[in-house]
């Protein structure tokens, strides 16, 4: 997550500040993520996690500070976006379209071949759901389709906002396997979570966001669980 001036950062944030209506949400974030690294951002509700993810995913512009993706500050935004996959908290799927129609639509925006849609459906065990409209799917199934959508174009940076929320044990396990496989092929994964155990399962680096600042950074396995919980409780007060 941090280090010297090594080349090859997937994303690098420098003194990132975001202010909404004169209220600072992020107060100077420094962040670096390498290819293949998984970074879990922990924090209480309202600590700025989603805002940070929206900045990293190019959906928001910072008020101050800089963000560089893939080591190229002059890359056109469209080229950067092509390499990013986002799984936000809300579903990006169209309820009236079937699972396949959703994937074909989003795949088309990234010039993904239709055969890739079929292989992603198979990889994520979604083929039996392909002809169903999204509105009839469960929360866990939607989350699976949403993840498949974000992975269609094989992004180099995958961003997930509280992806474990509402998933049962089986679905959470499948999500963990997918994210680990993603990191193994060199994709950087950044996710937010309330749960330190989820970060441990992913063998992720951990950053704790408190009051708009990153206050703790370390490998999940090496961090004391009660210390993390104390940090989170402190953030809620």
């Amino acid at each position: 997550m941090s280090g010297g001036n090594l080349p090859g950062w997937v994303v690098e944030a420098h003194r990132l500040v975001k202010v909404f209506d004169y209220r600072p949400v992020l107060r100077g974030i420094d962040l670096r993520v390498r290819p293949g690294e998984t970074l879990a951002i922990l924090g209480a509700n309202g600590s700025g996690k989603t805002t940070l993810l929206r900045l990293i995913s190019t959906l928001l512009a910072p008020t101050r500070g800089s963000l560089t993706w893939f080591g190229d500050p002059s890359a056109p935004p469209q080229a950067t976006r092509r390499r990013i996959g986002l799984v936000p908290h809300e579903s990006l799927l169209y309820d009236s379209l079937t699972v396949r129609e959703n994937l074909v639509f989003y795949g088309g925006l990234y010039a993904v071949a239709p055969s890739r849609v079929e292989s992603v459906l198979d990889e994520h065990a979604l083929a039996p759901l392909a002809a169903r409209r999204v509105r009839v799917l469960s929360r866990g199934q939607r989350q699976q389709v949403n993840l498949a959508r974000a992975l269609l174009h094989a992004p180099d940076l995958l961003i997930l906002d509280e992806p474990y929320t509402g998933l049962d044990v089986g679905a959470a396990g499948r999500l963990t396997s997918t994210l680990r496989a993603c990191a193994a092929r060199g994709c950087a994964v950044i996710l937010t979570t309330h749960d330190p155990a989820g970060a441990e399962a992913l063998d992720a680096s951990v950053a704790i966001l408190l009051d708009g600042r990153l206050t703790g950074v370390g490998a999940a396995m090496g961090l004391n669980r009660s210390m993390l919980c104390d940090w989170l409780r402190e953030g809620r007060r």
């Binding site: 929206r54 995913s57 190019t58 959906l59 928001l60 512009a61 469209q78 080229a79 976006r81 092509r82 990013i84 986002l86 936000p88 809300e90 579903s91 990006l92 799927l93 169209y94 009236s96 379209l97 129609e101 639509f105 989003y106 088309g108 925006l109 990234y110 010039a111 959508r149």
Partner: protein, 215 residues
């Protein structure tokens, strides 16, 4: 072109399955035409009735465009596309919806106001086309602007109608001239104004859309 086809195709498929925009616009247009026809049904009232119907129908229908898209907008904004293209395809889908409403309402307007609508239908297509494009451009941009507002259905007409007033005045003028049997060159200034309005607002909206959807 493939992205345009995909985006417009998706919007039309969603509209076909949900019928949220054309049905709302169509129903309001139908009611407005009947109310206006019941209160004043002379041939001279036809152009105003037509454009009041289309302008109000558009404000109600276009307010829905980005409401339907609100939860998915992040997916579109994250795609490697020029964000102006998202505006253009939304405006195109909205315009096609308005064309459907225009086509469906013409028989009723003809029956309620004047049969001259039928006699001059080919010439009328020009102000209908140019006026519809302008309404769709302004309505789509402002629809994106108010989508997060709590009172968006009320806010859109308040913002949109003053902006489209020059367009409505020119469209009413051109329509009135055509219905009176004047040749197209006699309403050339109104048609040129409509064309200029379309060029200015389509271009400005294309350029401004990125800033409008940015939080």
């Amino acid at each position: 072109m493939k992205a345009v086809r995909l985006l417009v195709g998706k919007d039309l498929l969603l509209e076909w399955r949900g019928r949220e925009i054309v049905s709302v616009m169509g129903l309001l247009a139908l009611l407005l035409a009947i109310v206006l026809g019941a209160t004043r049904s002379g041939a001279d009232a036809a152009p105003s009735a037509m454009w009041v119907t289309y302008a109000f129908g558009a404000t109600l229908g276009f307010a829905r465009t980005f409401v339907i898209e609100r939860d998915h907008l992040a997916g579109l904004l994250l795609a490697p596309l020029d964000r102006g293209l998202i505006f253009l395809t939304k405006a195109l889908a909205n315009w096609l919806g308005l064309v459907v409403v225009q086509v469906l309402s013409l028989p009723l307007l003809g029956a309620l106001f004047t049969e001259a609508i039928w006699r001059h239908l080919p010439a009328l297509a020009l102000p209908l086309l140019l006026g519809g494009i302008g309404l769709a451009a302004v309505g789509t941009l402002l629809g994106a602007l108010v989508v997060q507002a709590r009172l968006r259905e009320a806010l859109l007409p308040i913002l949109m109608l003053p902006v489209v007033l020059p367009l409505v005045i020119a469209a009413v003028g051109a329509t009135a001239g055509i219905l009176e049997g004047l040749p197209l060159r006699a309403v050339g200034s109104e048609l040129r104004l409509l064309l200029a309005f379309d060029i200015i607002f389509v271009t400005a909206s294309f350029l401004l859309f990125e800033y409008v959807v940015e939080e």
